[in-house]
């Protein structure tokens, strides 16, 4: 058959038909090419994202919370990873044997596990914060529906001794109390994340990008000295127990730098086990509680009078009557010593003497002294809940109020404020700013009284501690000590409770070049003794003696054994 002779071939079609077809095909290709260029060149984000999500993963990088150490680098709070075991109850399947094993590992009765699993169908924690080794053994049981995630737990090796300064963190590793809360932004780490490529075995084969760098929390060195803190705490505990006091507090300041070297409160708690906490245990009495200080404020009255030139240390104050009537109120002295000098008013802690000196002063000058000594405003440590105390404006003072304020009634302060105010006498008239964190460059204080006035007060306060003063039990062998007792009725329901006292002692040593300021307070001592000189002063002496020895401060007094007066024979101050 001769195909070439086919009549079809002889048919001549119009030329435009083949041209049209060609044009259409070319146009089709052009459209495809444009689309391809568009998808791969301009609008490629979406597709790339889809592609990447097939092989790349975003990983969370956890960050550590910073350590807290004492001034010598000893660890006081450390975070370490622990595991939490959680379950999707719907998916949990275990044999009874696995159940008993799991219960034994988690240290909880098998019934408790069933109870937890019945609480919810989608999510329940079986146990939070278990050690990693235990978690490892739990995962070896291969129970479906059981998962673990990593959490951090904070440990406090110092336990109850440091509890009030350090505070603690919650389950989410954020600070809730104390330093942990005050310095949370420094301590907290910021977790980061990065994008990686994983192969089919789940191994990371390539790092694509770092989305956020993980930042570990900063380490924080406190001003606290762990050894000193331990000494202060143990001595306070002895005193609170032997005096059957309701509570107690002590604070040790470095007079040279304003650092808080030790700070302890009783009752206390164990921050590693906080299952049964009461408000009384949590309270940081040194910083957040205020009380009427009593006689410990007399030196500030006398300092005002000395500054204004109204008296000299040897000016006689008419105290022979033993009482002073202002309006229809009367101030009493417990003992009559006849007329006293200003020095003796401090030494024997005479209320009448202090009141008389105060009545010769303008109210404004007294107010300014109290204000500049830091009373009435919080000490700005950055600590949560710092108390400022109560100092009313001088314009509203009546004469009787001015007189009682001279010996520390009608005004309230925190123990920390009181200790800080004594840096004025310990430091040639300068009030130091305080710091809970180690100070590497010395801070400067604010001049409140002249250096000469501070020296005179220092001499008076030394006599208050000598035999013949109110606190011979505050003496420390080998060192010259200066300080003042305070004993005050507790305020209750707007009046003063008859047999409830707050006993305190504030002092510093060595008097020739003061290094430490220590303030001690005992709340409701009820074992018979309640005078500051009998209750608080021995704590001061024990802590001061130990602390000066630990710090290697050279003695400034002859090393002769001290002769203590027989129990109860020292001069009792007025309450």
């Amino acid at each position: 058959m001769n195909y070439a002779a086919s009549p079809v071939l002889a048919l001549r079609l119009p030329l435009w038909r083949s041209r049209l077809l060609l044009a259409l095909i070319v146009a089709g290709f052009l459209v495809l090419a444009c689309r391809a260029v568009y998808l791969q060149g301009w609008n490629n984000d979406f597709l790339q994202q889809k592609g990447e999500s097939r092989y790349s993963r975003v990983l969370e990088i956890s960050a550590n919370r910073g350590k807290i150490t004492d001034r010598h680098g000893e660890a006081l709070a450390i975070s370490t990873p622990v595991k939490s075991v959680w379950a999707i109850p719907e998916e949990v399947q275990f044999s009874s044997q696995q159940r008993t094993k799991l219960a034994a590992l988690l240290e909880m009765p098998p019934r408790e596990i069933d109870k937890r699993l019945n609480e919810s169908t989608s999510f329940t924690y079986l146990k939070r914060q278990i050690p990693p080794e235990v978690a490892e053994r739990v995962s070896e049981l291969h129970i479906p529906g059981l998962f673990q995630n990593r959490e951090y737990r904070r440990y406090y090796p110092g336990g109850e001794v440091m509890a009030h300064v350090l505070g603690f963190t919650g389950a989410d590793d954020a600070g809730q109390e104390g330093i942990e809360l005050a310095f949370n932004s420094t301590l907290a780490g910021k977790s980061g994340s990065r994008r990686v490529i994983k192969d089919r075995l789940g191994q990371i084969v390539e790092d694509l990008e770092s989305i956020r760098e993980a930042q570990n929390g900063h380490e924080l060195a406190l001003a606290l000295d762990a050894k000193l803190q331990n000494l202060a705490f143990s001595q306070l505990k002895l005193a609170v127990d032997s005096n059957k006091a309701k509570a107690g507090a002590i604070v040790v300041l470095d007079a040279k730098t304003g650092e808080v070297l030790a700070l302890a409160n009783l009752p206390t708690y164990n921050p590693n086990n906080r299952s049964h906490l009461s408000g009384a245990q949590l309270r940081n009495r040194v910083i957040t509680d205020t009380f009427e200080p009593g006689s410990t404020l007399k030196p500030f009255t006398v300092a005002t009078a000395l500054e204004l030139g109204k008296v000299t240390p040897d000016t006689m104050v008419g105290t022979a009557a033993g009482s002073l009537s202002i309006g229809n109120a009367t101030i009493h002295d417990a003992h009559r010593f006849g007329d006293m000098t200003v020095t003796q008013v401090i030494q024997r802690s005479s209320n009448v003497g202090a009141a008389k000196i105060a009545l010769g002063l303008p109210a404004e000058a007294m107010w300014r002294m109290f204000d500049q000594a830091g009373f009435g405003s919080p000490p700005r440590l950055g600590f949560p809940g710092e108390a400022g105390g109560k100092l009313r404006p001088y314009k509203s003072w009546r004469p009787i109020e001015q007189a009682t304020m001279a010996y520390g009634h009608g005004i309230s302060v925190s123990l920390l404020q009181l200790a800080r105010a004594y840096t004025i006498f310990a430091r040639d008239g300068e009030l130091m700013p305080l710091s809970l964190v180690r100070v590497d460059t010395p801070l400067t204080g604010k001049q409140v009284v002249a250096a000469a006035t501070a020296h005179k007060l220092r001499d008076m306060l030394e006599l208050a501690v000598a035999p013949g003063g109110t606190a011979p039990r505050a003496r420390v062998m080998g060192y010259r000590v200066a300080g003042k007792t305070g004993t005050a009725h507790k305020e209750e329901n707007g009046g003063y409770a008859a047999h409830k006292y707050v006993s305190s002692f504030v002092g510093f040593a060595p008097a020739s070049d003061p290094r430490l300021v220590i303030a001690v307070m005992l709340d409701e001592p009820s074992a018979g003794q309640y005078y500051g000189g009998a209750v608080a002063a021995p704590v001061f002496a024990a802590v001061m003696g130990g602390a000066l020895r630990m710090l290697g401060v050279p003695p400034d007094a002859p090393l002769k054994p001290l002769e203590l007066p027989p129990e109860g024979s020292e001069i009792k101050e007025d309450v």
Partner: protein, 95 residues
């Protein structure tokens, strides 16, 4: 001409294979790096735990108790203490 093409083809193949191997090597090394970093992290954790353990053993209260009870140590009293002053302070005291 044909020979040049052949040479270029071999070169190209060799380069391509080298790329594949080096990529593989890179991934292997990276994986190793990952593992080492993980190890470093674990050591860090362990270090924290050891520090914790150390400070628990070195609690001042515990040391004091052992020193007192087991080693029968005590703080010397005043009669048995001799204070040695630094030279400059001695001169001061003499004056």
């Amino acid at each position: 001409m044909a020979r040049l093409n052949l040479i270029l083809l071999t070169l190209l193949t060799a380069c391509a294979l080298a790329l594949v191997t080096s990529q593989h090597q890179a991934r292997k090394l990276f994986n190793e790096l990952q593992r080492e970093q993980e190890h470093a992290k674990q050591l860090d954790v362990e270090w924290g735990q050891l520090q914790l353990e150390q400070s628990t053993w070195a609690l001042h209260a515990r040391i004091e108790k052992i020193a007192r009870d087991r080693l029968r140590m005590s703080i010397p009293d005043a009669k048995r203490t001799q204070v040695v002053l630094p030279a400059e302070r001695q001169a001061e005291a003499a004056r």
